[in-house]
């Protein structure tokens, strides 16, 4: 496990000072999802698109008998789509399962990385120069040695603006 931060001795931050994340990549950017919110990581091979759904919701997935609402992180964060979005038979989607209010969601990401334990001390509030689309969805960042990890506010991601009922 990598960890950065000035801690003495053991080389790993003390338990209370650490934050654990499941890291994912979306559009080249490293994101961190608080581990407490992550239920699952899985590959979906089939997805049912929902006509007239908000753009970010790319469909419904059957996960062990539960219907999961899939939200495309690329679209959520304002990226262009990847070339192929699988429909019923082809392609694979990498998904991180999240629960909220008893409902099952899945965040579709480009890829899933490792679980990182980071020190609180490296946590910073969202920098001003960060893309506005991300700023709304982020809780803060961790400055790693070579890159920035954007900590995602899961509830903000799930808070998709719905059209007002006609």
């Amino acid at each position: 496990m990598t960890g950065s931060g000035d801690d003495t001795g053991a080389g790993l931050p003390a338990f209370e000072d650490s934050l654990d994340y499941v890291t994912v990549t979306v559009g080249g950017q490293l994101l961190g999802l608080p581990i407490a919110r992550v239920q699952d990581v899985f590959i979906a091979t089939r997805i049912t698109p929902v006509p007239l759904a908000p753009r970010e919701i790319i469909g419904l997935i059957n996960l062990r008998g539960r219907v999961v609402t899939a939200i495309c992180m690329r679209r959520r964060m304002g990226h262009a789509d990847l070339p192929a979005v699988p429909t019923n038979t082809e392609g694979e989607l990498t998904a991180v399962g999240i629960d909220q209010g008893g409902e099952a969601f899945a965040l579709i990401v480009d890829s899933v990385g490792e679980v990182m334990r980071l020190s609180r001390t490296t946590f910073e509030p969202v920098p001003i120069h960060l893309d506005r689309a991300w700023a709304a969805l982020a809780k803060g960042v961790h400055r790693l040695d070579d890159r920035l990890l954007v900590v995602i506010d899961v509830d903000a991601v799930l808070n998709i603006e719905l059209p007002v009922a006609a």
Binding site: R46, T48, P51, A53, N62, N88, E103, L158, L162, P163
Partner: protein
């Protein structure tokens, strides 16, 4: 929360609801000692439990209430204010219990005022009893104990002791004959009047049942999966156990569903109290009648309709029922009645709330609707009463001038409709001014597992609930059923009905390359509307477990949920209500077309006409309702025979007759207007179909039909000649008008129809059915002809101009014995249920829609059943 407390709250809640109901009953039957004893016992039990658990505030309240009730039980006179006070106490207790549920302890507070009031009532009652002769057999010791026990408890404030003493007193009291009983009547019932005898019941946590239900649903899904696999395999050994599994699952499903079923009476339990309170508050006399309270519904649905039902009953009491003096002034009984009823029908439950109040003021609703800009004045005029009444379901629509605390805020009925819609139900309203109103709700029996038709569109599968599917029709570009376009809207002609068509792909925003021609039409019925959903393919029907839509997707009106099919695919469930709403335009058009043909008979003679071109500039028209089909055929297909052009059409040879001024094409596409009657068809060749127009026609009739024309009219600003079909039909088939000709020229039918135009249109129809037609332009003429010597076999009479007079004539005719077996058929533009009822009363044989030729001929063909000779 403390388990004991939870149980207490649950049980006590139930007891208090029962007390509520019983008190209201008691008010209506003050001499019923049983009810009073029940009430006393219930309150006593609650008080005991409160003392046991240690809830002083509740205990004090129940104790005070119990004292008053005790006095009533002993024969003190019951006043309405006393009952009100007790009911208030019950309410206060419920309030405290609610807080108890939330916080785990009794809220701090004082109920001094209420308790004082109750004590006062109890005292007065006691004194009243003391003045009367003490009833024979009452044990003076018991009486002494009673008085002292009460005094002791209020002084010492020791609940336990008081309870014990009162328990004893209670036993003693029960053992003693009460003034209400006949002496000597077995009072040992006291011990036996425990819970009302019924089937053994068990208290089960709702969550447990939910879990069970979920498991059964999963079982159903897994079974579906296995069935799917078995379908593809040939393993014989698998089939046997699988069948058994299927049977068991189905039974288990049924059984668990039953546990979810609750009698609708549960939702109605609060109503007697509410109506009673409202009667008192509003100064009206209202009686509540409940029918079918045993009708069972899914628990989930019950929860959803409970509040809407209460709201509607309040509305009734507040707005519909008049005050007593107003009622008597109208010749009604002083007491207004609100009737709630429920019964099973098909796969649904029908609930009706009706009252005998003042009915709805449609004129006012019409005005309000126009005022709010919901429709224009012109449109408002055209809408029928039923359609106007439906405006009350519009958001914010409240026609009451004063907003009362009870209702009338204008947010009610639309919320009710939304709730009913949400569970896939239907709501409608019927009202007669001055007499009363009835609101009818139809809801599915259960929401959890439904039968659904699996269809596909644009490569994706969807599920359509079986309950709304009426039939399936295969459509092909040149097949037996094809999609036509009228005013640019796709429609399907299905058995004389025009069905608006909506393509599922289109509604989902998927522009399709393929033309709207091929596929299957799922004929869907939502409420009174029928329309067709065009899909690419239809698979099979499957039992699906309905899973609710994600909260982020619930706003899409098209879908009501989703499910997982046997093969693991997630499939969206189409909400027919949603589709119907999105198809609003098409539906309105459908109504417009239906209305148009219906309005043809109105004094303004509005008709839907098919307009076509003949020759270079000639424009002619014929009523659309007489047309069977429009076609465009390759002229090369025409054959020649006996000097006429013929077309091989659907396996038969059909004559093709050009309209005057039209030359049959030799090559290219020839537009044809097809008329069919039973086995006979003919095609009128025209130069081009111009349009379908709905117009107020003012036809200038020619004195004598000539050249195949009846007259002319201004259609869309152009002089248009009206075709005389009777001229062309025999050209196609000389026998057309002489079918089934019997000696004497066929049976005579008296056609009573004030509109000359319509007589001209209907006469060929009757003639084609082999009848001789005798015309009568008005009822006097009709009466004269009917009493004439020549024998009539049937009478076809118009009901639009003056229904009452028509019915009166029919009744007169029936009186004459020779007309007893006369077949009398009424014609109406828009036959309503009321009309059918009135028609039956006047002994008409049938009421047929004016342009429904098939129906008219079918009815003519039938004979009147032989009537019993009246003694």
């Amino acid at each position: 929360m403390d388990e004991l407390l939870q149980e207490f709250l649950g049980e006590t809640g139930e007891h208090l609801d029962m007390v509520d109901r019983e008190l209201v009953r008691f008010e209506q039957e003050p001499n019923n000692g049983n009810i009073l004893r029940n009430i006393f016992r219930l309150v006593h039990t609650v008080k005991g439990t409160c003392g046991f658990i240690g809830l002083p505030r509740l205990e004090a309240l129940t104790h005070a209430a119990e004292s008053v009730i005790g006095q009533f039980r002993d024969g003190a006179s019951v006043s309405s204010s006393a009952v009100t006070a007790i009911l208030e106490t019950i309410d206060r207790i419920k309030e405290i219990m609610a807080e108890l549920a939330e916080k785990g302890q009794e809220p701090p507070g004082h109920d001094g005022q209420l308790i004082d009031e109750l004590r006062g009532l109890a005292e007065r009652a006691k004194q009243e009893l003391a003045v009367r002769q003490p009833p024979p057999g009452l044990d003076p010791v018991a009486a002494y104990l009673a008085r002292n026990a009460e005094a002791r408890s209020t002084e010492t404030g020791a609940p336990a002791a008081a309870s014990a003493a009162l328990d004893e007193m209670d036993l003693v009291f029960r053992a003693a004959p009460s003034p209400l009983d006949q002496p000597g009547q077995a009072h040992g019932e006291a011990g036996r009047d425990a819970k009302v005898a019924g089937p053994a019941t068990l208290r089960v946590n709702v969550d447990t049942l939910e879990h069970l239900m979920t498991m059964v649903s999963e079982l159903v899904l897994t079974r579906n999966q296995l069935l799917e696999i078995a379908r593809r395999q040939e393993d014989a050994g698998l089939k046997g156990p699988l069948q058994r599994l299927s049977l068991i699952t189905a039974e288990l499903q049924d059984g668990v569903m039953k546990t979810r079923m609750q009698p609708i009476g549960n939702a109605w339990s609060k109503l007697p109290r509410i109506v009673r309170d409202l009667s008192t508050d509003l100064g009206k006399k209202i009686e509540l009648v409940m029918e079918g309270e045993d009708t069972e519904l899914d628990r989930q649905i019950l929860e959803l309709i409970k509040d809407p039902l209460i709201h509607m009953v309040r509305n009734c009491a507040d707005h519909a029922i008049e005050e007593p003096h107003e009622r008597t002034a109208r010749g009604k009984s002083e007491i207004g009645t609100i009737r709630v009823s429920a019964y099973h029908e098909g796969g649904s439950v029908t609930i009706a709330i009706s009252d005998d109040g003042r009915g709805m003021d449609t004129a006012r609703i019409r005005r309000k609707a126009v005022q709010r800009g919901l429709i224009s004045e012109a449109e408002a005029e055209r809408l029928s009463e039923a359609q106007i009444l439906r405006f009350i379901f519009h958001p914010g629509f409240s026609t009451s001038d004063t907003v009362t605390a009870v209702s009338g805020r204008g947010v009610g009925m639309d919320v009710v409709k939304v709730n009913v819609d949400a569970i896939g139900g239907m709501i409608d309203i019927a009202s007669i001014a001055g007499t009363g109103t009835t609101i009818t709700i139809k809801i599915p029996l259960t929401l959890a597992i439904v039968s659904a038709l699996i269809v596909a569109s644009e490569g994706q599968r969807f599920a359509i609930p079986q309950v709304v599917v009426r039939e399936l029709v295969r459509v092909k570009a040149d097949g037996e059923h094809m999609i036509e376009r009228i005013n640019n809207a796709p429609v399907l002609r299905l058995r004389e009905r025009l069905l608006p068509i909506v393509a599922l792909a289109g509604v989902m925003g998927r522009a399709s390359d393929t033309a709207l021609d091929d596929g299957f039409i799922v004929v869907t019925q939502v409420g009174e509307r029928q329309f067709g959903i065009l899909v690419e393919s239809v698979f099979h029907t499957e039992e699906i477990v309905v899973k609710p839509m994600s909260t982020r997707l619930r706003h899409i009106p098209l879908f009501s949920g989703n499910t997982i099919l046997g093969d693991g695919a997630v499939v969206l469930i189409v909400d027919p209500n949603g589709v119907a709403r999105l198809v609003g335009v098409a539906a309105a058009q459908d109504e417009a077309i239906a209305d148009a043909s219906a309005e043809a008979a109105r004094p303004l003679e509005r008709t839907t006409m098919l307009v076509f071109r003949t020759g270079k500039d000639g424009v002619k028209a014929v009523p659309l309702s007489l047309v069977t089909r429009l076609e465009e055929v390759d002229a090369g297909q025409f054959e020649s025979g006996s000097g006429r052009a013929l077309l091989n059409y659907r396996g038969r040879l059909m004559p093709v007759v050009p309209v005057e001024g039209v030359e049959l094409r030799q090559a290219g596409l020839q537009p044809l207007v097809i008329f069919s009657e039973g086995d006979f068809s003919m095609a009128l060749a025209v130069d081009a179909i111009v349009d379908i127009v709905e117009e107020v026609l003012d036809i200038e009739m020619l004195a004598m039909p000539e050249q195949g024309l009846l007259g002319s009219a201004i259609i869309r600003g152009r002089a248009t000649e009206i075709l005389d079909l009777a001229h062309y039909l025999p050209k196609a088939n000389p026998n057309w008008l002489h079918l089934r000709r019997e000696d004497g020229g066929g049976p005579r039918v008296l056609l009573v129809e004030p509109s000359e135009f319509l007589r001209e249109m209907l006469a060929p129809v009757l003639k084609a059915a082999g009848r001789q037609v005798v015309h009568a332009a008005d009822l006097t003429m009709a009466a004269g002809l009917a009493s004439g010597s020549s024998e009539l076999s049937a009478v076809v009479i118009d009901l639009d101009r003056d229904a009452e007079a028509a019915f009166a004539l029919v009744t007169r005719l029936r009186v004459e014995s020779r007309h007893a077996s006369l077949r009398i058929i009424g014609l109406a533009s828009l036959p309503t249920p009321e009309m059918h009822v009135l028609a039956a009363q006047s002994e008409l044989d049938a009421v047929v829609a004016k342009f429904d030729r098939r129906e008219l001929i079918a009815e003519l063909a039938e004979t009147r059943p032989k009537l019993r000779r009246a003694a």
